[in-house]
């Protein structure tokens, strides 16, 4: 009866009006997941449309400069639409199409998932509506226009803190209002069962590729894999195929915002506690009465008060480590990678780069670190300029 659990975490804490759709989704997912036609169609899309496999790039200059572990970057930023989000979106949109749905809706924080969903919807002839916190529509104005260019309708969400969690609330409300022809393309490994499992399955290609690529290049497994964690989809994707390889450290980098000792943080593992929200039992930033905290991070994509249930389990079991990274550290890493390797990372991914810079120095040249570069930073350039006090003509 207790379905979709990751030890005590996960579950299906959804309104009754959503349960029919969740069960339909689970049924259809099971039906299509091992269907050879579906697998072939998705594989072709990932290869020919998204550009997979993504490169595993040896960051030689960064390695030399830091003088410790050998550093590789998993280049999810080179995927079509500029982030790992496309992996999950192509899977879910194709599934929705098979289910006979004609409309997809999605939440978005930084806009990456919204852009990916709008893209897949354009490709597969689906109607598309994206819900985005009003504050995020300002932080990521270009992405709003990109979604509109792709034919999607963007709804600015004005409730609550006007960021990612409120966008999720509003997308859930929109889904139960029009559920028969609509699929909710949830963007991270969160929400009610079966979403955390479906999204992980569509993202695990990242880790599967890393494994094959690093074995081909180095003949051994990495000592550590690092990824940023908001809800945690790029991290679970990178980690999943290494969970049973106990020698590989799995390190999730959370957004500490202005610091975990301030109220302006989004570091869930560092500051949250167990709760039930957005359909799942997991860890959440909240007050003593269970009110969800208004979190903060420079990164709209990590500005979320919870974490996916499978991460909560990996943390509790001690299989994965989670570390907080501040805005300042992330911005420094953003600039560092740009100048050192000529690669501008998404500010989300820069959180993982920042922590890698710290630990690489303490490691030996025989040890390998893989950083999952989940997205590219073009979308963040204006915001980083503002952060640095540089005025741009846009």
């Amino acid at each position: 009866m207790r379905k979709g659990r990751f030890s005590q975490y996960g579950g299906q804490y959804a309104p009754e009006t959503m349960m029919g759709a969740l069960q339909e989704l689970e049924r259809e997912y099971r039906r299509w997941r091992n269907d050879p036609t579906f697998e072939a169609e998705l594989a072709a899309l990932l290869k020919n449309y998204a550009g997979r496999p993504s490169l595993l790039y040896y960051a030689e200059k960064m390695t030399r400069d830091l003088g410790g572990a050998k550093i590789y970057l998993k280049r999810e930023d080179l995927n079509h639409t500029g982030s790992h989000k496309i992996n999950n979106v192509l899977g879910q949109t194709l599934l929705a199409k098979k289910m006979g749905k004609t409309r997809v809706i999605a939440e978005t924080g930084a806009g990456q998932h919204g852009v990916a969903t709008a893209t897949a919807a354009a490709l597969m002839d689906m109607e598309c509506e994206v819900f985005m916190g009003k504050e995020d529509t300002a932080r990521q104005a270009l992405n709003v226009y990109r979604m509109q260019l792709l034919g999607a309708k963007v709804h600015p969400v004005t409730s609550g803190t006007q960021t990612l969690k409120d966008a999720v609330n509003e997308t859930m409300r929109a889904w139960v209002t029009r559920i028969a022809d609509t699929h909710y393309v949830l963007g991270s490994v969160m929400g009610p069962h079966p979403f955390p499992t479906i999204v992980r399955d569509y993202q695990r290609i990242i880790g599967a590729e890393i494994k094959a690529q690093i074995l081909a290049a180095e003949g051994k497994l990495p000592a550590a894999i690092l990824a940023c964690v908001g809800g945690g989809s790029n991290a679970i994707g990178a980690f999943y195929d290494f969970i049973t390889d106990q020698s590989v450290r799995l390190i999730g980098c959370e957004a500490a915002g202005r610091g975990v000792d301030t109220a302006e943080t989004a570091a869930t593992i560092a500051t949250g506690k167990v709760g039930i929200f957005h359909g799942m039992k997991s860890l959440f930033c909240q007050d003593d009465f269970g009110q969800i905290a208004p979190v903060y991070s420079i990164s709209a994509g990590l500005d979320y008060p919870g974490i996916g249930p499978e991460h909560a389990m990996l943390w509790e079991k001690g299989r994965a480590e989670y570390v907080p990274v501040t805005d300042d550290e992330a911005v420094a890493a953003f600039e560092y990678l740009s100048r050192t390797e000529g690669i501008i990372p998404a500010i989300e991914s820069a959180h993982a780069v920042a922590h890698a810079m710290t630990i690489a120095k303490e490691m030996t040249p025989e040890q390998i670190i893989v950083i999952n570069l989940s997205g590219r930073g073009d979308k963040d350039v204006a915001a980083i300029a503002r952060y640095k006090g540089v005025s741009l003509y846009e």
Binding site: A14, P15, E16, T17, G20, K273, G290, I292
Partner: protein, 258 residues
């Protein structure tokens, strides 16, 4: 037999919802007394939550106002304790899973029972996750209500069997809030429930006018009204006692005239 089930013994029942602490705790207390006096058979008190995903804009607004005004779970326990000195009407708490879980599920039920709460509705806890709270509810004699929706399909029977108090039947898809038109799609669901359970069925979501209340009451044992009342409270604030009482009386009359 539970006090909640008993409330359905005198013809069609009117269940009124208000968000606790909107515009402030003191007004909530006066509203509850007035709503009971005006003819409501059961009263649901919403414990405000920061992110009420099953609510439309009206109740979202009320939750935000209540939290901004300093409403907490503890203050609502105190209020119910105070009301229970002389108020007989069955009282329910309606809130989301996290405020209950964060309070400590057992401690929450223990305090609810001590204050005189008869039942609990948690809209983000469906049949499949009922056991999260059901054990503690049983232990302290609190009815844990269940909801069915037009899309509940083959789950209706099992939900009906497990339900306590009354069965909350969602009129139509979507979130809470006023609807201009209501269909009878929930009626067929209620027919199936009746085969499994002798529990009273009440219909909620979208009912605001006396005509709608009368139409829905024909399919069920009672109607639940929330957003329409909360809207009056949003409009009149501390002066909402009279308009709310008048509205309750009007709805009660409409469903009694069957």
């Amino acid at each position: 037999m539970s006090k909640i089930k008993n409330a359905f013994g005198k013809g069609k029942a009117l269940i009124a919802y208000i968000t606790g602490g909107d515009p402030n705790i003191e007004t909530t207390g006066r509203l509850i007394r007035a709503i009971a006096a005006a003819g409501a058979d059961l009263i649901e008190i919403g414990i405000p939550f920061s992110d009420p995903i099953a609510e439309g804009p009206v109740i979202q607004g009320a939750s935000a106002r209540a939290l901004a005004a300093g409403c907490t779970t503890d203050r609502l326990f105190d209020l119910v304790m105070e009301l229970r000195k002389d108020l007989e009407t069955p009282l329910l708490f309606m809130t989301y899973a996290n405020p209950v879980f964060a309070y400590g599920t057992e401690r929450f039920m223990q305090r609810s029972a001590a204050a005189g709460i008869d039942g609990l509705i948690i809209p983000d806890t469906p049949y499949e996750e009922r056991e999260e709270f059901a054990g503690a509810c049983r232990q302290y004699g609190i009815d844990l209500l269940s909801m069915v929706a037009p899309t509940s399909a083959d789950r209706v029977r099992q939900i009906g069997k497990a339900a306590e108090g009354f069965l909350y039947c969602v009129s139509s898809l979507g979130v809470t809030g006023v609807r201009t038109k209501l269909t009878d799609e929930i009626a067929s669901v209620i027919k199936i429930v009746r085969e499994e359970s002798d529990l009273p069925c009440a219909i909620g979501f979208g009912i605001s006018t006396p005509e709608q209340a009368k139409q829905m009451a024909a399919y069920a044992d009672g109607v639940i009204i929330g957003s329409a009342i909360v809207k009056l409270i949003a409009e009149y604030g501390e002066n909402s006692i009279e308009p709310v009482a008048a509205y309750i009386a009007q709805i009660k009359k409409a469903i009694t005239e069957q």
